[in-house]
């Protein structure tokens, strides 16, 4: 998860904040729709109740010096049209009930204004909405205050309000879902350039240090510019180190070679054995320094290339032949018979030619170095599940040294003090093997004499 999203994903933050806004808007929308529609429904009931009460008030008349009423049919039927609610009414003239429900509370005439008065209260087990209209009727020149009260239960209203709530909820949820879909799309398209940039950087090969040139949105331009500057700095520094390594090898080896030549000449000229001895030790020290410098730089080169090793299609048989050819003269000096046991066909694999050459050279070099004169070295390659390149000799063997130890840097066997060496050859071979997904195997020869060192590369 951390790998994918890291700490504080921009997408999550973007989506989260927009979702919160959408949610707030949805809720506000819901409340407004329900409020407005609910109010409208209530107003509708109020209007009809007021119309009903007014229609009844309009039908009041004076008869035999008394207020009378013929209840208009429409005044009640209009209440029946909107819902199946219960209807109650009461007409009070001068404090006495003219007609209707005696027990329906009717506000005092004194408290009423000219506009219809609305209240809500429980009546006969249900909450009723009540409209009251005040009318003054003159009876024998005396004004009589008549209140007309019409009440209706609120079942229809509750039904309308629950319908409105359902609709408002559906619309709000729909709005939220649509907004979320748009937000996700927007977040994706907003963050797409980052993904594009990432892909264009990660797609490039290890050697590719060209500047990044993808289309970048304004906000990412500074980042990309900095990245490009960094890449160019890295390129410079890398090529500088590579130059340094090759340069250094020359610079160290050449003067040492000159000193060694002078020492040899001096050695021939000297007669006193103690002087000759001193010069021989000097020569040996020079050899060791030269060897060490060479191996150190080789090792540095291996480490350097291992990170971004090149991938060339190459033939291992070819490489082995090449190595044998190069070291052939050294073997000849000791009259060592270099026997090649190689398959006819090419052993193809993908790898870094320079690194593989370096590994093979070090292994074969050891075999020659630690073998006595007039012995045999067998260079063999086998092709099965894996390519196995082995070099076996008839030399002194490892003398019981732990094999893992021999591949650590600067470690040498206890039985090789007479031979110049820096203890880096097997380290180089081991690292090259690992870089190529293979391994280095070290064993005593099967017949008991000598060593056998192999590079094993499984086939992909």
């Amino acid at each position: 998860m951390t790998g994918r999203f890291g700490r504080g994903s921009i997408r999550l933050r973007l989506v989260g904040q927009l979702a919160a806004v959408a949610a707030v808007l949805s809720v506000a929308f819901f409340l407004i729709v329900r409020g407005v529609a609910g109010q409208a429904a209530e107003d509708t009931q109020d209007n009809i109740l007021a119309a009903s009460a007014t229609a009844i008030a309009d039908a009041l008349y004076t008869d035999n010096n008394a207020v009378s009423l013929e209840l208009p049919y429409s005044a009640i039927s209009m209440l029946g049209t909107i819902s199946q609610d219960r209807v109650f009414y009461r007409v009070v003239a001068d404090g006495t009930t003219l007609t209707g429900y005696d027990d329906l509370p009717s506000p005092d005439a004194q408290t009423l204004g000219p506009a219809p008065n609305f209240t809500t209260f429980p009546y006969r087990g249900e909450s009723v909405r009540v409209a009251t209209v005040l009318r003054s009727v003159s009876v024998g020149n005396q004004p009589v205050n008549v209140t007309v009260t019409v009440a209706q239960t609120q079942l229809g209203l509750a039904e309308i309000s629950s319908r409105i709530t359902a609709t408002a909820t559906a619309i709000a949820v729909g709005f939220f879902l649509a907004a979320m879909a748009l937000i996700l799309l927007a977040a994706r398209s907003a963050l797409a350039p980052i993904g594009r940039l990432t892909r264009s950087v990660s797609r490039r090969g290890p050697q590719d240090l060209r500047p990044v040139v993808t289309d970048t949105p304004t906000e990412l331009v500074p980042l990309v510019e900095e990245l490009n500057k960094f890449i160019s700095r890295l390129g410079t520094s890398l090529s500088r180190s590579e130059d340094l390594i090759t340069e250094a090898a020359h610079r160290v080896r050449t003067p040492l070679a000159a000193v060694r030549a002078q020492a040899e000449i001096t050695h021939h000229r000297l007669n006193k054995p103690e002087h000759r001895q001193a010069i021989r030790e000097m020569i040996r020290a020079i050899d060791e320094s030269s060897r060490s410098a060479g191996q150190l730089l080789d090792h540095a080169m291996v480490t350097f290339r291992a990170d971004s090793h090149e991938r060339d299609a190459l033939d291992l048989t070819d490489l082995l032949n090449d190595t044998c050819n190069r070291l052939g003269p050294t073997a000849d000096l000791k009259d060592i018979d270099l026997i090649r046991d190689l398959p006819e066909h090419p052993c193809e694999m993908v790898g870094d030619r320079i690194l593989l050459q370096s590994a093979l050279r070090n292994i074969l070099d050891n075999a020659i170095k630690y073998s006595p004169a007039d012995s045999r070295i067998i260079v063999r390659a086998t092709d099965g599940d894996a390519y196995r390149l082995s070099v076996s000799d008839e030399g002194r063997g490892f003398g019981g040294a732990a094999h893992t130890e021999l591949t650590t840097r600067f470690s040498r066997g206890s039985n090789v003090s007479d031979i110049v060496g820096s203890g880096l050859g097997l380290t180089i071979a081991d690292e090259v093997a690992l870089t190529h997904g293979g391994r280095l195997e070290i064993s005593e020869n099967t017949n008991g004499v000598g060593a056998c060192v192999s590079l094993v590369f499984p086939k992909q």
């Binding site: 013929e70 199946q84 609610d85 007609t99 209707g100």
Partner: protein, 349 residues
């Protein structure tokens, strides 16, 4: 003779309609009672109804065969007595069946009815129920019944206008020979009269013309049909169609005319009072009544036409009386007084 029992009925209705300060206990008056005992009785369904035993008995028996174990105690009372029993006396009945739609509506409006919803009641058309408390189960138009002795085939009045013209053209033959309900006595007649008055101005003209010819006033459909059949009456106006229909096989000499200007259609309704005790049985009866139109054989037996939207729509003169608070209007004391005054003035000249 004409006003027999009127004062008591009026008093009772007044009591129901608002003058309820009396605390004295009135016993309500029943006309008949019959117990239909079940073989293995588990409960008793007490029904108070305005419907004759003859008409309702087949329904009770069919109901009992579908709901074994329920005994039915069937009490018959007039619509005002029924109203008074439940509204004033608080008598315990599980179901109130009445042809007085206005009084049934008032029961529901004033909080004396239980709500009930089931698949059968939900299937009823909207105009056949109110508040899920008043359930209609019949549709019965008010018709004109004419005497075959008086009318031939070609001089039958088809609408109220033709009836008025007939009365005006042949006053001598018709004097004392037209009949109609006394709306002061019969709840159903009052309902028909008030609805007629709403539907058309011709109602008042007709009433006046009938009044000028000494119209005879009746309490019940049966008496009117008897007198029309015997030829004593030339016609009777606003007779309950379902009743006239059911008399056709027993009595001859009359014909039923459905007028083509409009026909007020009364709905017989059932209400489960809040005082009901055997609610399950009452609800089963409501379901049974709501599905009457699926039982044609039973309807033939009872003579009660079930709720049938198709039949209603096929004749656009049919105007079912709407259930709703507007039915309370003509129950208003002052309104009722004024209406009866106008009616009495018109019919008695």
């Amino acid at each position: 003779m004409r006003f027999a029992g009127l004062s008591k009925t009026m008093m009772r209705l007044m009591l129901v309609l608002g003058i309820m300060t009396h605390t004295a206990a009135f016993g309500f008056e029943i006309e008949d009672q019959k117990l239909y005992a079940a073989t293995n009785e588990t409960s008793v369904l007490r029904i108070i109804s305005t419907t004759d035993i003859d008409a309702f008995e087949p329904i009770i028996l069919a109901y009992q065969s579908e709901n074994p174990g329920i005994s039915v105690d069937y009490t018959i009372a007039s619509s005002t007595e029924l109203m008074s029993a439940i509204y004033v006396e608080g008598a315990v009945f599980d179901l109130a069946i009445s042809s007085a739609m206005d009084l049934q509506t008032k029961l529901a409006n004033d909080g004396f009815a239980r709500s009930y919803v089931s698949a059968p009641t939900a299937a009823l058309p909207d105009w056949a129920k109110w508040r899920d408390q008043v359930f209609a189960f019949t549709q019965e138009p008010a018709v004109l019944v004419i005497s075959e002795r008086f009318f031939g085939d070609d001089d039958v009045p088809r609408n109220r206008q033709e009836l008025i013209e007939l009365l005006r053209n042949r006053p001598e033959q018709l004097r004392g020979r037209v009949g109609t309900y006394d709306v002061r006595v019969s709840g159903a007649a009052y309902l028909f009269a008030t609805q007629d008055s709403r539907n058309s101005e011709s109602y008042w003209r007709l009433t006046e013309v009938m009044g000028s010819l000494d119209a005879r006033l009746y309490c019940c459909s049966s008496d009117m049909i008897r007198d029309v059949a015997s030829g004593e009456l030339a016609f009777a106006y606003n007779v309950l169609g379902s009743y006239a229909e059911s008399q056709k096989h027993a009595t001859s000499g009359f014909r039923i005319i459905e007028m083509d200007d409009f026909l007020s259609v009364m709905l017989r309704t059932a209400v489960i009072p809040t005082s009901a005790e055997n609610i399950t049985a009452a609800e089963a009866m409501v379901d049974f009544l709501a599905t009457l139109n699926a039982r044609p054989a039973l309807n033939n037996l009872s003579g009660l036409p079930p709720i049938d939207e198709v039949a209603l729509r096929s004749n656009n003169a049919l105007r079912p009386i709407r259930l709703g608070p507007e039915l309370l209007v003509f129950l208003d004391r002052l309104k009722r007084d004024a209406f009866l005054r106008s009616w009495t003035d018109a019919i008695q000249q």
